[in-house]
């Protein structure tokens, strides 16, 4: 005669399914938090690049030195920055282009963000 109730195998399978489903939910939530943190970091990176370009725009000359590392205590500590000046051709006219590259660490991997302004230095 077959016993009433679940077998051990059925109980184990249901636990495994429950655990799998809950893990999936947590994983998606954790990813959401990860992307929020990533966005917050990108905001800091973008602001850093723009602030450096604003300083250059105000001075009208390239900073000396034109590259460096972020010091201890800086929100982007462990990263570095670099400002590069180029000439671009715009319909036959030369236009100065100054780009600020920010190299920052995300999960111990180096990422890059860059922003540019157009114009001639003094």
């Amino acid at each position: 005669m077959k016993r009433p109730g679940f077998t051990l195998l059925e109980v184990l399978v249901s636990f495994a399914l429950l655990a799998g489903l809950l893990t999936l939910i947590f994983q998606s939530q954790t990813e959401g938090i990860f992307f929020l943190a990533k966005t917050a970091r990108l905001e800091i990176v973008q602001k850093e690049a723009m602030n450096r370009l604003m300083g250059l725009e105000r001075a009208g000359e390239m900073p000396n030195p034109a590259s460096g590392r972020f010091e201890t205590g800086h929100p982007l500590e462990g990263g570095r920055w670099e400002i590069v000046q180029e000439q671009e051709d715009f319909l036959g006219y030369p236009i100065g282009k100054i780009t600020c590259h920010i190299f920052y660490l995300e999960n111990e991997q180096e990422r890059e963000f860059s922003a540019s302004i157009l114009g001639d230095l003094k």
Partner: protein
């Protein structure tokens, strides 16, 4: 005949497994809750910072230096454009900022609209209220009825209760940083603003931005 249901061993194994799975899931859940709560607080602080930044940025960008007003009727020199004081109140960098701006008032709508010269006075300052504690305020006054840093018909808004520092740096004609700006001799080349918000749980967020009022280069300047 064998009895139906689980044996003791089966019951113990399934309870142990259930306990282990629940412990893992609860651990993950509480960790997630903690992270999510921290992140949510940070997002709220950053949102408030962005709102403050956009207001201050808009006002600073519209700042004007009025030469005739500055000269005055009897040849006295009155502060105009930007007047800022480095207060260093209680060890904090709580600066005061007064501006003459050329724009439609942000909150002063409807009043004297027919005669609106689009000139307003705007101030940002900290004030401690015995009931509500330290607050950060924006005062918008219809131009022009008194010294830049006082008086007149004004609309005052409390912008934040959590802003603890506003640190301003002005760049003079030689691009040298100055802590104060006297409101004489024109606008600075640029202004650097640092805002610090402190949450209820002690976490803080800082926003740091630069506005150039008279850039030496850039689009529209020299090509």
């Amino acid at each position: 005949m064998r009895r139906g249901g689980f044996t003791l061993i089966e019951l113990l194994i399934s309870l142990t497994l259930f306990g282990a799975v629940t412990a893992l899931l609860l651990g993950g859940y509480f960790q997630f809750q903690g992270q999510s709560s921290r992140m949510s607080k940070t997002i709220h602080l950053r949102q408030e910072l962005r709102n403050l930044e956009s207001l201050i940025r808009a006002d600073l960008t519209e700042a004007v230096y009025l030469e005739n007003y500055a000269k005055g009727a009897e040849g006295e020199i009155r502060p105009s454009g930007i007047l800022a004081m480095d207060l260093m109140e209680g060890g904090f960098n709580r600066d005061q900022l007064h501006l003459q701006v050329h724009s439609r008032g942000q909150f002063f709508t409807g009043f004297k609209l027919a005669y609106n010269p689009e000139l307003f006075e705007v101030s940002y300052y900290f004030e401690t209220n015995p009931q509500t504690g330290l607050g950060f305020y924006r005062r918008e006054a219809y131009f022009i009825d008194g010294p830049l840093d006082e008086g007149g018909d004004a609309i005052v808004h409390q912008l934040s209760k959590r802003l603890t520092q506003m640190n301003l740096t002005f760049f003079d004609d030689q691009n040298q940083p100055q802590k104060d700006w006297p409101g004489k001799g024109g606008l600075p080349l640029g202004v650097e603003v640092e805002l610090t918000l402190e949450g209820e749980d002690g976490t803080s967020q800082t926003s740091h931005f630069v506005i150039n009022l008279r850039p030496a280069m850039g689009p529209g300047v020299r090509f």
